[in-house]
Symmetry: none
Subunit: 234 residues, 2 copies
């Protein structure tokens, strides 16, 4: 095995076991090169590979840093934001910017299996992990099933808890549709990414007792999250 490969493996293992915490700076290239007894180019070859993998990033004049690993968001029946993020050992948060009640459009009607034009509650906001924004969401609920949801939502950061308080203690994700899109300026600003960057758009329907209770559209900053579907679990 080549030198740069073994160095990359060593550093990868050290990062994996927490020897270098996310956000911290690695020792200077010269120092690391001396530690491994190689030329600086050889060390740079190793760190370049790790940077390609997303484990490291470097800033000229500043140093090489351990990057925060992208969140792995598990898809499946029990896909819930808070639960997923907490299982990954991160700090989830949801900020609801607006809650309005209006009549639904045809796409929303089809997803929720209600009559076109029926009243719905629409909540919009930003979801974050470790206090960094990762997604913009728009959640649509049938108003007749959840008459007092707006009141509960404004006091809650969790949709699951809000639904529980509105008489829906449990729900499952029925379907998820995924697409890639490009961030416009407004989306980029809210997610604190560059305009034109890649977004992963998920469109999901949650059901309780066989009836749709929520249709959500979420735009994820693809740099900060990876969707994972594991067929062995479920």
């Amino acid at each position: 095995m080549s030198l740069w490969q073994s160095i990359a493996d060593t550093l990868r293992a050290e990062i994996a076991r927490g020897m270098w915490r996310p956000g911290t700076r690695l020792p200077p290239e010269a120092e690391l090169a001396a530690r491994f007894g190689v030329n600086r180019h050889t060390l740079r070859h190793a760190t370049k590979v790790l940077a390609d993998e997303g484990l490291l990033y470097s800033r000229r004049g500043a140093g090489v840093f351990v990057s925060a690993a992208p969140v792995e968001y598990k898809l499946g029946e029990k896909a819930q934001f808070h639960r997923n993020i907490e299982l990954a050992g991160r700090v989830p948060n949801r900020r609801i910017d607006s809650v309005v009640t209006r009549s639904c459009d045809t796409a929303e009607a089809q997803g929720l299996q209600i009559a076109a034009g029926a009243p719905v509650h629409v909540a919009e906001g930003v979801a974050s992990v470790d206090h960094r924004p990762v997604a913009i969401f728009r959640a649509v609920f049938p108003a007749d099933m959840l008459p007092d949801l707006p009141k509960v939502l404004s006091g809650e950061g969790s949709i699951t808890r809000a639904l529980a308080q509105s008489g829906v203690p449990e729900y499952k994700r029925a379907t998820t549709r995924l697409k890639a899109t490009i961030a416009d300026e407004a989306q980029a600003a809210r997610l604190q990414i560059d305009p034109g960057g890649p977004l992963l758009r998920t469109e999901a329907v949650n059901i309780a007792k066989g009836r749709p209770v929520e249709r959500s559209i979420v735009w994820w900053a693809s740099e900060r999250v990876t969707m994972v579907l594991d067929n062995q679990d479920s």
Copy 2:
């Protein structure tokens, strides 16, 4: 702009406009370095970037080649892809442009659960629906499990049949990871979309008898496909 960047841009543009046909060999590094008036290392930096993008691949002792070969031979459709598209009432097709045997990188090693640097077969090509390209794929197989896969591939023209002949009659998808990316010029050209457009990148591992047999990365033209996950079916 740095030298290697402008060189990479030049080569990328030349490949995009067909000056170097897919499958052809580029001039030797020394010659290209002389053409651009730079050191061989500088040129290698540029070609390395293009190799990372998937435009080029190098074979030690042989040369640097343009990744996607033209229609040399048409191989059969992968069962999953084929069935999915047919169920949607469309006409599926898969074109394998190249099959190369090389040593794997660390990411591939992790996915296939083999030693880093172990030999793998790599098949690249384009998947189409209704005779329009929808995805670029790269499939990686462990060479020790499937020693004669390249021969079988060229003889049979079917990945599933080739796997069956190699003692893998059945396999299933274990995990799928999804991300959104931006199409670079080469990808856009192959998919006949605009550069900068959204791509849905799936990274999947197929297993047979508990052992990984294939790791595929597929870049889908997001304009032409939507991924759907239905938890009620399975």
